[in-house]
Each structure stands twice: as structure tokens, then as C-alpha cells.
Symmetry: C2
Subunit: 487 residues, 2 copies
């Protein structure tokens, strides 16, 4: 796989570690090895020392030569891939891309639709964005590849034959036991393993709940406004009309639920999407009172409760009223959306119907990823990983926030203490945020106009996801946004 150029570099010296781009472990910093390595390769690509098409050394080889862990090399390559500077496929190695800088997260795929409004842009627009600040996309270069592989190895060594067969449609018993403990510790949930249904992400949780509510004659559901366009589309597909209820500084305006002829509501109480507000204690009480009085079901989408930077997150609503709350969580924001793993903890009276719906959908979720996740929880590696990512995300948030305050003083910034995105609104400006987002996009930055996530009229704004970008990239994005706003 190494081309002649790299072959020469690698095979002619005696101290091969010093050969690739004259890198030397001795010159590397004590901390930040990944940034150092990625920076060195990036510079070489930019100044032409590594021309388009050049194969990078295999990760194993380079790690050995430099005397550093292979994970560092893998992550450095990932960052470069994230920036569009290199690309690779399993089995063919990593090569320097033809275009530099290429669009971030390039893809030949049709528009990859996510939840939390990750991907509602038309493809041609999306494909041309150099910096993609769509909300809902985590830092995928941080996926804990080594830990996941260790977990898979352990699981493949020791999983029983029955665990690879047609399993329980509600999921691996082991994973559900681990999840019960994990959710009790981190989110205050009151749930036993048998209460949990493993699902393919919160999207499937919504699909199953919508089917189940529909079968009980419930055809309307209250949603937050602004709120996730992706979730709204999902519910609508499954036959639930979404009734918008305004969100203010304290979260959903619960008083507006009365008289709307709804017996179900979807909320993101820990960190409202996209405003970032936390449902205030008084509103929580009011909401639960409403659910009891109306015999209603609250769907609690706990989509990024793991990212709270100032204090411990508020316990889940489910803990206060397990009989009225269907709790849904996911690994999409902590590991990767591509895992398609989540969990649903419904009120007891819906449990059997939901398991039947899960069975009818796909007989159950795949076994190996469930077992690997169970092991990551059991060994503490998931918790460790989330701690690391939280720290990194906090630095990214700080960078974006700092740049916005300097460059866009007229914007009101919301959603600061938690999550993976910020919301900026322009209460004083009578602008069209879709038109603004289009201008920003022409400057190479993709953001969601707030109006996409509204059903009701409201102040214009922009939703800015910061998870997938470095502080430098985020500052650059803020500069371009400011220029577009002025222009």
C-alpha cells in the first residue's frame, strides 16, 4: 500500500521513526500528541510535501516507528479525514485527498437524515459546506475505537450461543441490567432491567411509541416550539399530528397544554432542543399534574443529558412519574449516531404493546453491539469516555462562545451550560433567518435557521452545533457568520 515515495522514506533510514515528514518523538509535546501529529501532517499536505493521492503510512507502522500508541495515530488520521484532507476505506489505506481543503464530512450518500434536525438540508447545499455546524452531530473523531474493539473481543470470546440466536425482542438481558444501573446512577431513573426495551436509537423509540399511542386512539401529540424538526417528521410519519406549544425561558409553557385536546407530549426537559433551556422545577410539577389529570403520556427525549458543563444534570422526569413518562435515551451523542442504539423505558401499561411493536419491526436489535455496550458500561469505560468528551466539548463551546461575543455582540446566545450546540437569536433585527443561513452557506458554513425548527412565528435565529469542530474552525465559522450578517 505504501507508494514509492513513502517506501523510500521508510525503508532507507535506520531510525525510521525520524523519516516520515522528519517527525521525531523527541520533538513531540508531552500532552497533545494527537494534535501535534495531525498538525504536522496537515502542514505537509498544505505546503505540498504530501501531494494528492499519497498513501499515509499504515497506523500500526507509524505508531511503532514513533513509539506512540496506535490510537493516537488513528485519531490524528481521523481528524484529517474529518477536515477532508485525507480519506480512507477499510482495506485500502489512507490517502491524501485530491482537493484541499475539501468540504467537511463529504459524502456521496443521499442526505443523511438525523433527528434533532441534524440533516434536513437539501443535499447539494449540504455537500458544498466547508464547515458543517448542523446541530446534533457529535465529535465522531472521538469514537473510542480501541475500547470498543476490546469490548467486542471480550464479547466474542465469551458470549453464549444463545446470545447470538433469535433473542428477546426487548434486548439483551445483560445490557438492560447494566443500563438500569447506569441510568439510576447518572439520571436518577427508577427502572428495573425488565422495564427497559433496547431500540435502534430514539428515532425507533418514537416510531414504536407513535404506533402504540395510535392504536389507543391518540392521534395528536404536543411538541415543543421551537423543537426538533426531525422528531416532528418522525411522529407525523407514524400518524401523530404535532401540536406546537411555545417554549420560554423556563421550558415548555405547560399551561398551554390544557384545552388543546392532546393526551401525549414530547419534551426534551434536560436540555431543550434547540433553545437549551432546562424545564424549570415549577413547570415540571405542573407538567406531571397535567399528565395525571389528563391520563396522558409524556415522552422524555433525554438526547444529550450527558453534556452538562456547570453542574450535575437535573434528574430525568421519569424518576418522578414512571407511570406517565416514556423515557428515551441513546448512544448517538456519546458514541456515534451510526451505532443506532438506544433505550426506551415506558410506563408499565404500554410495555407489552411496545415489545410486540419492536418484535414486529425487526425482531430485536443486533446482539453484538448490545453486548459490547454492556461491557463498556460494566467496565466503566463508557463513563470514562464521556468525561473526556465532555471536557473537549466544553473547550469547543468556550471557543465558539468567545468568538460570538466579540464578533456578534448583537446576538443573544442561549443554551450555553449544556449540550452540543448554541442558539443565537436576533430579537432586535427584523431579518429572515433562512435567507441569512443561505448567505452564511455561501461563505462555506452550514447552520440551521431557527425557523426550520418552529411551527409558530418567533424571533429569527441560528442553531450552531459545535461538537464536530476544533476551536480554530469554530472561530473561523464565527467570523464568516459575522461577515455574512453584516454583508
Amino acid at each position: 500500500m505504501l507508494d514509492q515515495w513513502l517506501y523510500d522514506l521508510f525503508m532507507t533510514g535506520t531510525d525510521r521513526g525520524a523519516d516520515f515528514l522528519q517527525l521525531s518523538r523527541a520533538a513531540a509535546p508531552v500532552r497533545g500528541l494527537t494534535s501535534w501529529l495531525a498538525g504536522a501532517v496537515r502542514a505537509a499536505i498544505m505546503d505540498g510535501r504530501l501531494p494528492a493521492g499519497t498513501s499515509l503510512p499504515a497506523t500500526r507502522l507509524l505508531a511503532g516507528d514513533l513509539g506512540i500508541s496506535r490510537g493516537v495515530v488513528v485519531e490524528a488520521y481521523q481528524r484529517l479525514a474529518d477536515e477532508g484532507l485525507v480519506s480512507g476505506r477499510p482495506g485500502t489505506g489512507t490517502r491524501v485527498s485530491g482537493l484541499s481543503p475539501r468540504p467537511v464530512r463529504p459524502s456521496n450518500n443521499p442526505p443523511p437524515p438525523g433527528r434533532a434536525g441534524a440533516t434536513v438540508l437539501p443535499q447539494p447545499w449540504r455537500a458544498r459546506a466547508e464547515l458543517d455546524l448542523s446541530p446534533g452531530v457529535p465529535d465522531l473523531s472521538g469514537f473510542p475505537r480501541a475500547a470498543w474493539l476490546r469490548a467486542e473481543r471480550s464479547v466474542l470470546d465469551q458470549a453464549s450461543v444463545a446470545e447470538l440466536g433469535y433473542g428477546d425482542p426487548s434486548g439483551s438481558q445483560w445490557l438492560r441490567r447494566e443500563l438500569a444501573g447506569w441510568l439510576a446512577r447518572t439520571r436518577g431513573l427508577r427502572a428495573a432491567a425488565d422495564d427497559i426495551i433496547v431500540v435502534s436509537g430514539v428515532a425507533q423509540a418514537l416510531a414504536l411509541l407513535a404506533q402504540c399511542l395510535n392504536a389507543r386512539g391518540i392521534t395528536r401529540i404536543a411538541v415543543e416550539d421551537p423543537g426538533s424538526l426531525g422528531s416532528r417528521d418522525q411522529l407525523a410519519h407514524w400518524g401523530l399530528a404535532t401540536v406546537p406549544v411555545p417554549v420560554d425561558e423556563q421550558g415548555l409553557t405547560v399551561g398551554n397544554l390544557a384545552g388543546r385536546d392532546v393526551r401525549a407530549a414530547l419534551l426534551t426537559p434536560a436540555h431543550q432542543f434547540p433553545t437549551g433551556v432546562v424545564l424549570a422545577p415549577g413547570r415540571r410539577r405542573e407538567l406531571l399534574d397535567w399528565a395525571v389529570a389528563a391520563d396522558a403520556v409524556i415522552i422524555e427525549d433525554d438526547y444529550d443529558a450527558e453534556y452538562r458543563y456547570d453542574r450535575a444534570p437535573v434528574p430525568a422526569l421519569q424518576a418522578a412519574a414512571p407511570g406517565h413518562v416514556a423515557y428515551a435515551g441513546t448512544t448517538s451523542k456519546t458514541l456515534a449516531p451510526g451505532m443506532r442504539l438506544g433505550w426506551l423505558i415506558p410506563p408499565g401499561r404500554l410495555h407489552a404493546d411496545l415489545v410486540a411493536a419492536k418484535h414486529a419491526a425487526d425482531l430485536g436489535s443486533p446482539a453484538l453491539p448490545q453486548l459490547a455496550l454492556a461491557r463498556l458500561i460494566a467496565t466503566g469505560e463508557l463513563e470514562h469516555h464521556i468525561r473526556l468528551v465532555r471536557k473537549r466539548q466544553r473547550a469547543r463551546r468556550d471557543a465558539l462562545l468567545g468568538a460570538l461575543r466579540v464578533l456578534l455582540p448583537e446576538a443573544r446566545v442561549q443554551g450555553v451550560p449544556a449540550g452540543l450546540h448554541l442558539l443565537i437569536t436576533f430579537p432586535a433585527l427584523g431579518l429572515d433567518d433562512t435567507e441569512l443561513a443561505e448567505r452564511i452557506h455561501r461563505a462555506g458554513v452550514l447552520v440551521h435557521p431557527l425557523s426550520w425548527h418552529r411551527q409558530l412565528p418567533g424571533a429569527p435565529g441560528l442553531v450552531l452545533g459545535y461538537a464536530a469542530h476544533t476551536p480554530d474552525q469554530l472561530r473561523e465559522a464565527a467570523r464568516r457568520i459575522a461577515r455574512a450578517l453584516r454583508g
Copy 2:
């Protein structure tokens, strides 16, 4: 993890390989290492040298001591687990079980429902069966753990960040490209990567198709009779009434489709479930003529086309009429049902709606298993694995067939040249096969009465899955079935 007893065994000798049960690599056969090792441990459990609760040595340790590959030890342990003699969970090691022999495939789970009628038994009955000959369950002890782990490692090393994100709902582009080539080579399919939708097993393919047909006003679907109870239940859940059409020695009696007011049909043409007949060439032509004339959709469930023992399998129907056939395949019978991986290749006019339905169901299947499967196909390891399993399954079929011919001469045996199960019918006996299956179950053997898979009246019979059992176990099962029939 090793208890004192094993600790002593392992740590006191100098030639540790000779210590565990006095096993010595020198005494092992050149071929059949796995059977040799499993046999030695089984004997020690049976005669009390390894009492209940004893930890077996870690696979890595024992493999090192004996100088054999770890895969051999893993598989030997799996076989013993399959027989209920040992049990293990990831992280806690493998221990000798309390009961010996325990029921095969014990489970605390609710009845794990499969397709092809794998699991329609009520739980208490199922849990007590010593030998489970339910059809549709492959030999899970043969799962290629080492190859799968290698594939995962490669994928985790090299997958791009975009591949872990919200992906294309129709599946990984790489996997679809590999599948297109694989299905062209092995099944004669005419399909491009973009025609393929990756799904969570054939069960999800049926769910999506049923939704899509329903949305076009199709509410009735012809099914084979006898035919899979699991598939029938699946279609019924999604609102399609199943219209039974008899199967004879040439497969579906296509002439009976006319006048039944159906514009869709589900078939298993390569190896009909449960009769095992192949759809005859004349019937294939007739069926395709009907589909064109009625503008109908044929769903081709190619559920175990990989297991043909006498000659190459008949090419898929889809190859002859891609505009009228929705082809569905799965790894459930070649790898494991717990993978929940399959593919759907619909007529072009249904494609967009099915992708939308897949998106609404779960946004797409998990990324890592898709990439690992792509790699197993690309490296030829999947093909290699299937060749090995086919050989083993042929030996199992021969063992069961031989025993049935001696012990049950009055039974007519069908489905011999292919698949993972046999059908025996008793045309001359006026017996109730459900009652017979109950008697057989009291003798510790679980089989499906043929009547479970019928909607129309017909000869009594039994469906016997042989994939998950050794020749010795299958002969024992045949003895007990014969005794139950006479008793």
C-alpha cells in the same frame, strides 16, 4: 477467575499443558482438535472430575498451554455451552453448569420469536426441552468469531468519521457494493449497489414491504401453504391478510393464484419452507406471467439458499424479473440470527418508498456490523465460512436422515437436498401432529408440528431442524421421536 483447584493445576507443574485434565497436545489427533478437546472436557464433567461451578481455564491460557489456536478452545467451549454443560458470560469466565445435562439453549428470556417458525412455542414448554429441533436455528457454535473480530478491527482502524455518523438510510455504500457482487456471483441477481436496501433481517424487509404495499391499497397477499408461521404473523401485524395457496411437489400451485384477488405473493422458491421443494421451472414461468398480468409484486424470501448439498442452487427469481420481484436475504442462517442483518432488493418503483419507510423505522441499520460484513465478503471469508458450515450441515443431515430411515420407516422424508431442516409426514397415519409433538416434547425433544405452519388442512407431519446439533444428538432425538410415535 480461576478457582483454587484450577490454580493448583495450572501453577504447580512445569509442563502446564499437561495439567488441565492431563491433556496433552501430543495425544491429540491431527484433525478434529475441537471435538477432541470438547470430548475430553465433556467426559470430565460427566464423571465428576469437573464438578458444578468449576471455572474452566481462560481460552487464551488453555490455548497457549496446549499450543493450539485459541479459536479451537473457544469453539470447544461453545459446543459444551450448546449442550448445557457449561455456561459463561463475558467478564466472568466459563463455568461448569449445575445441571448436567441441562436443557439445550436455556434462556430466561420471554419466548424469542423468530421467522421461519423458529420460536412459536410457549415459553414453559420451550425452556424444558433437552434437544431443541426447532427449524430455522443455525449452528451458532460455528459463528466465525475470529474472522468477525478481525473484520471489526480493520473497520475500526479505517472507517471514516462519516461512516459512523447518521448514514444513508439504505445502508453502507461499501456493503451494498459488496452485496451486489456477492449476490450476482452466488444467486445470479441483477442488481446494482443503489438498488439494495440494507435491513435488519428478512423480518424487517417484510415489515417495510407490507407498509409499502398497504399504502398502495394492497391488503391481501398470497402465501405458501404450508409456509412459515412467523412470516405470516409478521405480514398480518402490518395489515396484510394472508391468503393460503397450496404447495405440492413442484412448489406453489401457481394456478390457484388466479381469482383470489391478490396482487402480492410471498414465496421461498429456492427451498420452500417447510416442505423443502424447489419451485419447478414451469411454475417459475407461470408465476412470472401471473405477476406481469396482475401487475403484482412477488416477495422472494431466499432464506437458506446457501445450503444446497447436491448441486448449485437455482438462481433467484429476481434475476428473471427484477421489475416484479422484491428479493430478501439475510445473514441469519449463515452467521447468526442475532446479527439482524439482511438486504432487500425491490422493484425500482417501490424503492424510494421503502427507503423512506426504513428511515421512518430506525433511520438505518447500525454502521459497524455493516462494514464488518462488507469486509468479510471482500476478503472471501464469508464464502469460506459458508463452505465449512455447509460441509458440517451435510454430515448432520446425513446422520438425522439415516436414523429416521431406520427408526421411522413409515415416515415420508422431504426437504433432503437443501436447507437446515427436514420435513417428515405420515400420510398413512391419521394422527394429530400437535399431540404427537407434545408427546415428543415430554421425551425431551422439541419439534414443530407441521400443522402450525398450515392454514389449510393437510397430512400431519413434523419439522425437524438439524443445524444446531451433533450427529449423536440427532440420532438420540430420532430414537426419542420413534419411541414417542409408537408409545
